[in-house]
Amino acid sequence: MAAEETIIQLRNMGKEFKTANGPVVALDDINLDIQRGEIFGIIGLSGAGKSTLVRCINMLEVPTSGEVVFEGENLAAMSESGQRKARQSMGMIFQQFNLLAQRNVVKNICFPMEIAGTPKKQARERAMELLKLVGLEDRAKAYPAQLSGGQKQRVAIARAIATNPKVLLCDEATSALDPNTTKSILQLLKQINRDLGITVIVITHEMAVIEAICDRVAIIDQSHIAEVGKVSDIFSEPKSRIGRQLILGDAVTNVKFDVARKYRIIFDGRESMEPVIANMILACKVPVNILYASTKDIGGKAVGQMIVQLPEDETDANRALTYLKSVEIPYEEVREHDI
């Protein structure tokens, strides 16, 4: 992102649902700026309000307060036909793909162009072009029932970008797919973002999706934005409780945590070449028990974390911590209530 320019701005946006048991707040005071050309992730546990949030961006759900500004215009204040027009500049893909079951692949891709009034012949040509882009030109005549999950999502992506939208909204787009297919779909999204300059907004509950493609991320928890920032920053130093929970998530399930003196050591990309732990053990002469370790490639940098158990003896433990401080490795004690 060389020139930062806001394409979507959410200002004090809120959404309340009226239910039989009184109003339920789905979103409260959401403020977000999404830059043109970036891949922006929104992560949260289920029920946090992330699906409602993405639907407010294209007015599938109308916010009950605040503004949604798309390219300088407040969508919430627009007429219905204006909103429909604006939606044609925002493609959307879904967890369940939502292809028309009675139309074949080409006709599915032509569908948004029919709605936008594109001439038939032109729409067909564009559809074939897009099929090539998503690597399914040989399945043009197939019906959705004949496709695998990954292929369906590729068709859905081709359909979503058929009208040359400026934004692509992805609502749990890989949650119904296996890990390998997920990887290939994420690569496709990255490619579309890079080659076509489409701003991509990704909603997910999986940290792995954020790590794989997002530039920036917002963590949403209980109807609020808990924190926003660059993925590498948030990953190496989550500030909110929910952030820790999401990032430490797999560590929590993998590590038995009823031991004392657990410390989280954070690698933010510069020390991965150094044998930090080995050096620490040699320098301090203290045994260290590694409970959990993981390194991930985020935007080309190796970012990781390790949870270690330090000796019971306080002087030994402090020696190790002093060493970490001296080599400028961030660390923190992990307590039960953090996770």
Binding site: N58, L60, Q83, R84, K85, A86, R87, Q88, M90, G91, M92, F94, Q96, N98, L99, L100, A101, Q102, R103, N104, F111, P112, E114, I115, A116, Y143, P144, A145, Q146, T163, L169
Partner: protein, 221 residues
């Protein structure tokens, strides 16, 4: 069991009248029932264009019409029939009451077919900026087509059953023959013959409807 040429001629006419009654009233009923079914689905709470008050009133009217027994309805609408057709006797005269009885029934069948359409697909169409009309025309109708065809087979056979009932009040057709000869004149063989023919017609209509639905459905293959 042999039948004289006159009887065979009469049965032939009866089949013709029955088919005319059934298909004429099915077509007209669908012309009324499809729009009603669409209104029921589109205007319901949480629908594409919610107008709950209209939906409620329409639902009540449809239920009212559906709860009147057909034989009673047939007699109740005699004045209307006379106005539209000019007579209250014969196959033509059965069409208006058949339509009044079948249209609400078909509206409900169409409604249930439309409700089977995946809400996610409708949401996807909305996300592309589709208007209400475009969603009805390009999503609801084509996506519900196989289910609509199954419904049409069921509706047509139901109307066939109603049309036979109309024979009791001078409606003609196979039902009329069964009542007049088989029942009033104790010609049991005539009764069995007409019933057998009705059974065959039902089988054929049902088979054709199911076959069309299967062929048109792209979900299974």
């Amino acid at each position: 069991m042999t039948f004289s040429p006159q009887v065979i001629e009469m049965i032939k006419t009866g089949i013709g009248e029955t088919l005319f009654m059934v298909f004429a009233s099915t077509i007209i009923s669908y012309l009324i029932g499809i729009p009603l079914g669409i209104i029921l689905v589109v205007t319901e709470k949480g629908g594409i264009r919610p107008i709950p008050a209209l939906q409620k009133v329409l639902g009540i009217v449809i239920n009212l019409l559906r709860s009147v027994p057909f034989l009673i309805l047939l007699i109740m609408v005699l004045p209307i029939t006379r106005k539209i057709v000019g007579t209250t006797l014969g196959a033509k005269a059965v069409v208006p009451p058949l339509v009044i009885a079948a249209a609400p029934y078909i509206a409900r069948m169409v409604e249930s077919s439309f409700k089977e359409v995946d809400a996610g697909v409708i949401e996807a169409a909305k996300s592309m900026g589709a208007s209400t009309f475009q969603i009805i025309w390009k999503v609801l109708l084509p996506e519900a087509k196989p289910s609509l065809l199954v419904g049409a087979a069921i509706s047509t056979t139901t109307i066939l059953g109603y049309s036979a009932m109309a024979g009791a009040v001078g409606g003609g057709g196979l039902g009329g023959i069964a009542i007049n000869y088989g029942y009033y004149r104790y010609q049991t063989d005539m009764m069995f013959l007409t019933v057998a023919i009705l059974v065959i017609i039902v089988q054929i209509i049902q088979e054709i409807g199911m076959k069309l639905a299967r062929v048109s459905d792209k979900r299974i293959r």
